[in-house]
Symmetry: D3
Subunit: 279 residues, 6 copies
């Protein structure tokens, strides 16, 4: 997104909190009052979202100074100061909660992603997100996955073809579905087919899919599917999805897939604990 479109989302988030005004601050903080504060890590996590937190403070008050002390995607330790902020107290307080909400959510996602990525170290397998993001926050959720060392799957319904059972039923079979998609879809998009068993794997293979997604298969079945696919066409990309958790992700990776997509990265990551302290 252009930075101006990001601003639009950030300003809506600020407006949601501020509404017709921060009445506590406007009645208690003298005009022109300034403060210094820090963003403080209250537990260990992987940082994501700091540039957006900075932007939120500056949207609240363009005079606020914000110095980042930690880098996106790096591990932060409990007690670390992440950033120093100074400027008008009213602006600091107007942006505080929204900035922390975004930073905590994004760092939570990055931290969970990092856990999956670490789990498959050395296997050359990509951990990707899905479209299971918070409504309206997909750009930020997917950014956080990248900060955590993961990769992005398609952004939405528009930048990738993923053929599922109901598409196949409506089109009249896997072969016809892939053929139709190939003839109608812009030529820069690959065609992925979701399969549930070996029969479907074979159908997808003979239909000419570019990518095959093994949906909710146990490890043993994945191994078989990988063998069938690799022996048929070594150029096909293989994705595993569904039922992945930190406990089984490495064994699935070892089964030979190229990509493992994990919905939990963006729908169930607990927030990282971060607070703002005034000096």
């Amino acid at each position: 997104m252009l930075s101006r479109d990001i601003d639009t989302v950030l300003r809506r988030a600020l407006a949601e909190d501020t509404g017709c005004g921060d009445i506590t601050t406007s009645s208690l903080i003298p005009e022109g009052h300034t403060s210094r504060a820090v963003l403080l890590a209250k537990e260990d996590f992987v940082l994501a979202g700091l540039p957006f937190a900075e932007r939120l403070f500056r949207l609240a008050d363009s005079g606020i100074r914000f110095t980042s002390l930690k880098k996106e995607g790096r591990r932060v330790r409990k007690g670390n100061v992440i950033a120093r902020i100074s400027g008008g107290t009213a602006g600091l307080l107007a942006a505080e909660r929204t900035a922390l909400n975004l930073l905590q959510r994004m760092s939570g996602i990055a931290t969970l992603t990092d856990r999956y990525v670490k789990a498959v170290t050395g296997l050359g397998v990509k951990i990707t997100d899905t479209r299971k993001t918070a409504p309206g926050l997909r750009f930020f959720d997917k950014y956080a996955v990248r900060a955590g060392g993961g990769d992005n799957h398609r952004f939405g319904l528009f930048d990738g073809v993923l053929i599922k059972d109901n598409h196949i039923a409506a089109a009249g079979g896997t072969a016809r579905a892939v053929k139709l998609a190939r003839s109608r879809v812009p030529h820069l998009l690959k065609i992925e087919v979701e399969v549930k068993n070996l029969t479907e794997v074979k159908e997808a293979l003979s239909a000419g899919a570019d990518v095959i997604m093994l949906d909710n298969m146990p490890v043993e079945k994945i191994k078989k599917a990988v063998a069938v696919i690799r022996s048929s066409d070594p150029g096909i990309v293989i994705e595993a999805s569904g039922g992945i958790n930190p406990g089984n992700v490495r064994s699935i990776a070892e089964a030979g897939v190229d990509i493992i997509s994990v919905g939990a990265l963006t729908h169930s990551a607990p927030a990282a604990d971060i607070s703002m302290k005034f000096d």
Copy 2:
């Protein structure tokens, strides 16, 4: 919010996923093709957000029929059908992911809230949310807390006065801060003061706070603070916040507070597992 303002948020979420078009569907699903589907619970949870899921489907295609089989705030069992949906296949697929994303998030929040509320059964204590919501989704997050049996704290910075240490410092003491707020703030708003220890409790009491928030205190300290406050003015509302978890929430409630506010309800609830299945 007015339903039309809710629509604006829902349409933005749909647009985020749909972008310039669902290319898989537009190339594979014949025009006029219709389908039937169900929303299916894949685990036990407390339901929240179904009316918004319905609205998302109807925003995608106003001809879609949606029949709710379960009620907001009620417990749903694994395998239950939550709703039946029928209509144009393209519309069903355009709204599917966004509707599930919202429903899973809101049901996750309701389920976690329900857990805290159940934990304090019989004690007359309210479990409330905080302002720690996903940016842009506060209305939905707070709705889900109510569906889970919880109560809402203030919506934002505009509909309640909450005086913290930095406000007190800038105003020149607790007494002066409360007095200033009382004179400047609309008369329908109560004044809450956040305190960290017994000295501050006493300052808040003599300043005339309407509500006192005990921030991050251990249970024993909470008990002492409650005793001091109740003996001074039985009409004051007492809130506990910070460091609350399912394990200690009942003992904190038993310490005599009126309200327990829990940030995790909205920032760290894992999503409920729900899917859409075509018949």
Copy 3:
């Protein structure tokens, strides 16, 4: 509101006047032509809205210099120069009418408010506005009331509970209405009950209202109501509303109420007379 949200309202007002372009100016004023002008008081009034007038000029042309010579909330005399403005002539003319329209409206409101506030000098009674503001301009109307020395009532339907007869009827009585509100509404909001006679005053008292609004009562009745309320609970806030005018406001204040709310402040204040003169 955040200054960026205020900008949105101001820009819409400018766009309403400018439309597809100021054709007189674009055909007659040479590009790069600059001018100096003053904002001039053409009668006595209390000033309000000057920062927004400045902002309007700078939204039309960010290079315009604007020097305020008078302060918000202060009385301005006929003939006084309120501000000096210089910069591109096209920008000055594009913002002139919108800036004056806003400044004249806001100063008119401040001036009328000041008249009521002066009338109750020394009695410790607050003069407040109501929700009877121009559609879309509530923020500015309420700001002008404060500039005139008045106080704000609740901003809208969301930041205060005001129970009227139809709420009571639907809820099944005053006692039940107050109890329901207390249990369902965020704990930082007070509960106000509107009453029309002494019977209702007593019902509101026993129901436990935090604030009682005496609606459209003559002075004598107000006195009786105040006596009943004060003898029952000295902590209850008493508001008088309806039928207030500059002639009776002091006697109503002397009847012992805490707050007098006046719709005319924002729905019937005549505009202050201000013009822009080019040097």
Copy 4:
């Protein structure tokens, strides 16, 4: 404006009042509760804005029924029922204040306009508004002037050429200003020149103005100016503006002008007194 653009303004006004929700109603009015109400005239006035009031109720709840009993532009008497409204109580209460605020403002403008129009009965002179409208409400203010029997002056800076002294100075004289405008402005727009004395009247005449505005002239001077203009070119339209009030408007009309424009119609009309009563 298209009705959909009007809706945008109306919805913003509703949102301003409703914010994150009508908490009184949502906590006290049972879901599905319906009511009947009337809009009641509490004084005599000329009605304007009823279709927009109806629209506001229907934007709040599309199921509300609204029956208009009085017509736009007609005189309404104290005690008259203007409209009957029925439907969901929550929707009625959500729209009540905004609908009344708009209806009271617009009827106030229509009533004041009617007073000026009546004052010049029989003289064939048009009473028009100016651009001195409430920011953001120009469409509604100008509609109300028409409802009161007045006419509209140009809507904004884009649909009419009005050359003032500073345009003349920048262009290098009246003759050159009119000539420049004639050559550069779309050919469907007339060219009006504002003059302050007889010398300027003559300059405007020889420059070839289509319309001459006599600014802030006393009646005697207006008579002389009219005589000069009529003897020179009987086709020129003459407008008087500035310093007009109900006391002098007829004598100014009798001085022979075609158009009298009055800023007070839209910047200083007191609101008409209208209320909503539940049956």
Copy 5:
């Protein structure tokens, strides 16, 4: 339009191209990478739109430097460098296509306009556009016509009265239509009547039209119509429209009309060929 409203249109155009991000650039161009580029004319044309192209680059990245080497409305030769641009490579690439699309369209319109204007040199006839512009781009299309030496007709339905046959039928005759318009329309707007033959010309004349548009008439008929109109009232403006092309425009101009309006200027001008080259 205000520059801020222009920005809104330009930002929407950028967002249309950029969507959720320029994935090629974000994966290949190192952060902080800068470049120099030129805008290069690949054929001869009349330049229009360069300030908007500049603005697009700066909306994509406010740090981009843009130096215009050619002036609006001037003829540019194949091989000329129109502007030099330098700054962040990502921003240059994000704005490149949108800036070229706008610049090529506007220069195409200016070039075609210039051809018509040149064709009527010396005859004192204005070439104007119509309302046949690309939806959403009217401001830019009409700006380009002016850059090409043409004039603008009315901007839309709001800033000029143009009475066509169906208006006349509904109003009950030409005389009544003009009279009604005169009485109801703001006095700064002229009244134009569209006619198809000499009978209608005479009706428009006696009805008192300010401007007469000869619609789709052959040159001989235009000559006759001009003679009839000029002998009746020399002050009336005469416009020819319909069926105009570069081959017949001069003979139509020589027939004595004041204005020739040409829809093709904005609906069928081929784009000028311009590219951006990196140094």
Copy 6:
């Protein structure tokens, strides 16, 4: 796009024309007046955009009835009635120009596309558009290309990777650029490399490009490039772009490419001639 997002664009286009109101119609057409009209082809063309024209009429007045007599993508003959429309005259006139402007533009694009598509009949080559569309109208422009029998290239910068010389320079060579893109870009996107000569063709081949675009090459060079590519990897998609015209498109197609992209389809198609006639 969702139909609601399309509506947003259409409503902006209507608002651009309507502004503060259609003054001719509002002063001449009696309220409630209805009419019947037809959309009439005034030359032969391929139809595109009729559903959007219908939508525009219904956005102007939801009561308008619109009966399409011709189908999208079909050839229409001069004199054919394309659609019958009836309903409120004011609404018909409010939408007329905008609907025609869109329909004429889109049909113009479809007609030009059809010409290129017909020229390559039987060769199995796709004619595609580019990103050279009118700012803000890309969705409509690309829809019209499909209606004309063409195919769409990527929609914007977000749904396809197209590596040009400056990307290669910044990345440090073709091989490294393709590798970087492959590792960073979502796995559903193919990687296209633009080449200018045979050396670059070979670099792209060994780098592993999925698609190779031959930019501005003469036919003979294209033949050689195709031979090199096909002999190296028959699965690679080959696109020709630049300098294509109706005269050379068939010989380029015969040179063996898969795709020919033509900017002129959307930046230089003359409008189809269509008018609305009232019965």
